[in-house]
Each structure stands twice: as structure tokens, then as C-alpha cells.
Amino acid sequence: AQSVTQPDIHITVSEGASLELRCNYSYGATPYLFWYVQSPGQGLQLLLKYFSGDTLVQGIKGFEAEFKRSQSSFNLRKPSVHWSDAAEYFCAVGEAGVGKSTFGDGTTLTVKP
């Protein structure tokens, strides 16, 4: 069965600092991978996705993620965090052809002024 682990429940960074959110997955075949962001009381917004090809993918709001098959990881990065990036971030692995996803438990990002 597929699974996703986000090892960091809560991360605090200073505004302007770089950010890396970790995601490890378990999946038998080539995974479809996603990062979503959720602001308090809101729905989920897709940041970026990886299906195949270039292992470094660019997303919205200046985020990027790198797929590393050897490490079963899909870490999310941003070079300079803004206060508006404070939110909860979810990594997910999708089942090809069915579309359903398994989500990690999320990482809450706090941004210090």
C-alpha cells in the first residue's frame, strides 16, 4: 500500500530565510506526487506536481520540488519565505489511472517577522 511521511509536524522560519519541507513516500511503481497548501479554514490549493520527466519541478508562488527516486523523497523548497507562506502543507502520492491520493499528515509552517 502506498504511504506518505512528512517527518516535520511544525516548522518555524524567519521571513526571508530559505525553506525545505520534507516528504517521503512509499509506492510500488513510478509515483505521481503532489504538494498542496492549505490556509486556515480554507480548501487545498495545488502548488506543484510531478508525473514524469525533469525531476525538478516548478510550482506557483515561487515553490519548487525535487523528486529523488533513490531516496523516495519529494521535498518542497523555497529560497525566500514570505509571511504569507504561513500555512499547512501537504504532500500526496497519487495512484495512476485512478486519481485517488494518499496524503501525509501535513507540516505547519510558521513565519517569524
Binding site: 506518505v4 480548501g43 487545498l44 506536481k49 508525473f51 495512476a96 485512478v98 486519481g99 491520493s101 494518499t102
Partner: protein
């Protein structure tokens, strides 16, 4: 934004009462999903549908049933609500058979079972 609406957006009900949540899409996507979100658990799949009248269970399906009588609507029913079903419920759509593997989510329904 994908055309997905959920109704109601908020509901308070009592233990033992039936509750039905509705998800409506305007994208004509074949697949629809119901997830629940609880603190510390991320999103967990309840049921999903891969076509009209075609549904399957997810990882947390006990106590829930679904129906899909037309492409645009996917209903989630709690036959007899329990306090453990207090949660935020999200509907999602995708169309992997047409190459649209990405799921798009609705705004969510907050359900409180007293």
C-alpha cells in the same frame, strides 16, 4: 478554479441523525472523491466514484455511504451520525482516463456532531 461546490458548508447535527453532504461539479470529470480531514491525520479517503453508479471504498469508509446518479453530483451520507464523524469533509474531482490525473478540491464542509 475548478468548478466544484459543496453544500452545506457548515452543519451541526445530533448523534443518531442522518446527514447528507453534496458535491457538485461543472467540469464533467469522471472521477469524484470524498475525503475527511482531522487534526494530525491529513486527508483520508472515504469513498470515490469512477462513473455514474460506480463507486468504491476508501480507507475510512465505515459508517458512510455514497451515491452518484449523475456525472455532476456525488452524495455522501452518514446514516446515523456519531461524534467521531465530526470533521471537515472535502470533495475532489479528477479525470485520469482523460489524462487529468490531478485532483482538484472543493471548499469543504464543516460537520459537527453533538
Amino acid at each position: 478554479d475548478a468548478g466544484i461546490t459543496q453544500s452545506p458548508r457548515h452543519k451541526v447535527t445530533e448523534t443518531g441523525t442522518p446527514v447528507t453532504l453534496r458535491c457538485h461539479q461543472t467540469e464533467n470529470h469522471r472521477y469524484m472523491y470524498w475525503y475527511r480531514q482531522d487534526p494530525g491525520h491529513g486527508l483520508r479517503l472515504i469513498h470515490y466514484s469512477y462513473g455514474v453508479k460506480d463507486t468504491d471504498k476508501g480507507e475510512v469508509s465505515d459508517g458512510y455511504s455514497v451515491s452518484r446518479s449523475k456525472t455532476e453530483d456525488f452524495l455522501l451520507t452518514l446514516e446515523s451520525a456519531t461524534s467521531s464523524q465530526t470533521s471537515v469533509y472535502f470533495c475532489a474531482i479528477s479525470d485520469p482516463t482523460s489524462g487529468q490525473e490531478t485532483q482538484y478540491f472543493g471548499p469543504g464542509t464543516r460537520l459537527l456532531v453533538l
